[in-house]
């Protein structure tokens, strides 16, 4: 982790509520792994005050660029849209622990909700590079928000889409789709991000099927480097509960240990 002042190569609106930023990462010598994140200063001045955490969305080793996909939420993300191609962005990272892909996992299931797709897309990219088959369920409010579908398909993933707009995104229906996927594919591990309800579903599914699972969590952050203990969550171990830092031990955790509220 370091503070970098990197050139923005593009920063454009990709749908109603989402923006996409490409940054020149040639300065970053550290390895960046899917599931890791950067803490970004959204504006020069002291307003907004804190940095904002964003997962790495794509890592392009050849072009030496990294990409972020972000949802406009409040002041920070609004200001982030003001940064123009050619300008610099102050990013701090890479931070945290990313996803793990075990060699024996030849087929994996991704379940992403909303902007959670930004986090899982990087994993799908990595999976493709390791010739791991990805089956992905993407859930969103509207079809307009299902923006990374093509990106994932480009990585060879088999993508199922569910939305409120189509009335297909309820947990029961997603569970049915998962059941169907398990009938067709020998899923070795499950990954999820972006929704408590869907994470609980995935937790149940991976437990029932007795396969490993991983989850990328979000929590409000202070330092993003493990010193302030703002971003904790609980892991249930056999005999005790452990408090861990999303920014340091996470944001990716063992799905079967995370205590979901």
């Amino acid at each position: 982790m370091q503070v970098y002042n990197l050139e923005v190569l593009s920063n454009v609106k990709v749908s109603d509520r989402y923006w996409h930023m490409v940054v020149d990462a040639s300065e970053i010598k550290e390895e960046i792994k899917p599931g890791q994140f950067f803490n970004i200063k959204c504006a020069d001045e002291s307003f907004p005050f804190l940095r904002r955490p964003f997962s790495i969305y794509r890592i392009n080793k050849v072009e030496k660029t990294i990409e972020f996909l972000y949802l406009i939420k409040g002041l920070g993300t609004v200001r982030l849209t003001d940064i123009k191609a050619g300008e610099k962005v102050d990013i701090f990272g890479p931070l945290g622990v990313g996803f793990t892909l075990e060699p024996e996992w030849d087929t994996i299931l991704l379940l992403a909700r909303g902007v959670g797709i930004a986090t899982l897309a990087a994993l799908a990219q990595e999976a493709a590079q390791q010739n791991v088959k990805c089956v992905a369920i993407l859930s969103a409010r509207s079809n307009n928000d299902l923006l990374a579908t093509e990106t994932l398909q480009g990585f060879g993933a088999e993508v199922y889409k569910v939305t409120e707009e189509d009335g297909t995104s309820d947990v029961d229906n997603v569970e049915k789709i998962i059941e169907d996927i398990f009938k067709e594919h020998d899923i070795k591990a499950g990954f999820t991000c972006g929704s408590q309800r869907l994470s609980k579903l995935m937790q149940r599914v991976t437990k029932n099927k007795d396969i490993p699972g991983q989850i990328a969590l979000e929590e409000h952050m202070g330092c993003a480097m493990g010193v302030c203990y703002a971003c904790v969550c609980d892991l249930q171990h056999e005999d005790h509960v452990e408090s861990v830092r999303v920014c340091k031990e996470g944001p990716v955790f063992d799905l079967n240990k995370v205590v979901l509220s």
């Binding site: 982790m1 370091q2 503070v3 200063k41 002291s46 307003f47 907004p48 005050f49 804190l50 940095r51 701090f92 929590e219 409000h220 952050m221 202070g222 330092c223 993003a224 480097m225 493990g226 010193v227 302030c228 203990y229 703002a230 971003c231 904790v232 969550c233 408090s243 340091k248």
Partner: protein
């Protein structure tokens, strides 16, 4: 001009420069960022005697010019601290100031005695802003008599430099500062966070899980600078200024107000290299104004003609 001297003294501590981290906003996790020996001292997060879980999330929220936190001294306990935290700094020469929190005066003394015996520890900062569980629940640092007793008991059990970290949530910080000085404190940290609150108007819920938290960052700097100035008028032991320092100018402002050293907390969250930038900036300032020794600057405020009046 020759390189100005930045070194300052607090009790038995010789600091190569006046800049150090604020407790709770620093840790060995920052090792990759810069050489800790560049700092005047290191101050790890406050420790409690027994392991503690800390408060409900969200533990931080952003406000105009700062943030509110209510971490709740998440701590792995004293044993872990002695075995793992202190040794993590053993390769550094810069002094380590151990910040401690406790539930009773006796517990402060007990912890100070144990920590005071550690060779890895050069000084102890008493975080007396925590509630006195054996008293009425008010923070120790809100009562001059209790603060006096606390510092005195601690001074009796250790020879290490003792710094009392005051709470700013008081009517008269001078009174508490005087009590600590009289009890033998070697230095005063002015100050901890101000008690604060923020509410999400859409959910009508507090933005902090614990409802109340402490505000830090530039928003509080003018209040802290005032307190440093006030304490300087009535105390002669060194003051460590703390609260809202974002850059070298802020640190210098506190030094001029009367601080011998300056702690940097929240700034490191926004600019992880903040402390290094501040040290360089302070040195550049001394050069610019041809000040050979930073000690000349401490409390050297120029007041044209003093008027005291209603400030409201």
């Amino acid at each position: 001009m020759k390189k100005p001297s930045l070194s300052v003294q607090i009790g038995k501590l010789n600091l190569t420069n006046p800049i150090m981290p604020a407790s709770g906003a620093f840790g060995a996790e920052m090792e990759g960022l810069f050489d800790f020996d560049k700092l005047g001292a290191v101050v790890p997060k406050s420790i409690t005697k027994y392991p503690r879980g800390g408060n409900t999330t969200p533990r931080v929220c952003e406000v105009n010019g700062g943030m509110i936190n209510s971490i709740g001294i998440q701590s792995k306990g004293l044993d872990y601290y002695l075995e793992h935290i202190i040794p993590a700094y053993k390769d550094y020469e810069t002094p380590l100031i151990a910040s401690i929190s406790a539930d009773s005066i006796d517990e402060y003394a007990e912890m100070s005695e144990i920590i005071g015996n550690e060779t890895g520890v050069s000084g102890i900062e008493l975080n007396i802003s925590c509630p006195n569980l054996k008293g009425d629940g008010k923070a120790f640092g809100m009562d001059a008599a209790i603060s006096h007793e606390l510092v005195k008991k601690v001074k009796n059990v250790t020879d290490k430099t003792i710094i009392a970290k005051l709470t700013p949530n008081v009517t008269s910080i001078q009174e508490i500062a005087r009590a600590c000085e009289e009890a033998g404190a070697d230095g005063l940290n002015v100050a901890n966070t101000l008690l604060a609150m923020a509410i999400d108007v859409h959910t009508r819920q507090p933005k902090i899980g614990n409802v109340l938290g402490g505000i830090s960052g530039p928003a509080i700097k003018p209040i802290i600078v005032r307190m440093i100035y006030q304490v300087k008028q009535v105390c002669s032991i060194p003051i460590i200024g703390c609260g809202g320092v974002m850059n070298a100018e802020d640190a210098i402002e506190m030094i001029i107000a009367g601080a011998t050293a300056v702690q940097v907390g929240t700034a490191s969250f926004i600019k992880p290299m903040a402390m290094i930038e501040i040290i360089n900036g302070v040195e550049a300032y001394l050069k610019e104004y041809e000040i050979e020794d930073i000690n000349e600057l401490i409390g050297d405020i120029h007041i044209p003609s003093q008027v005291t009046n209603c400030n409201a």
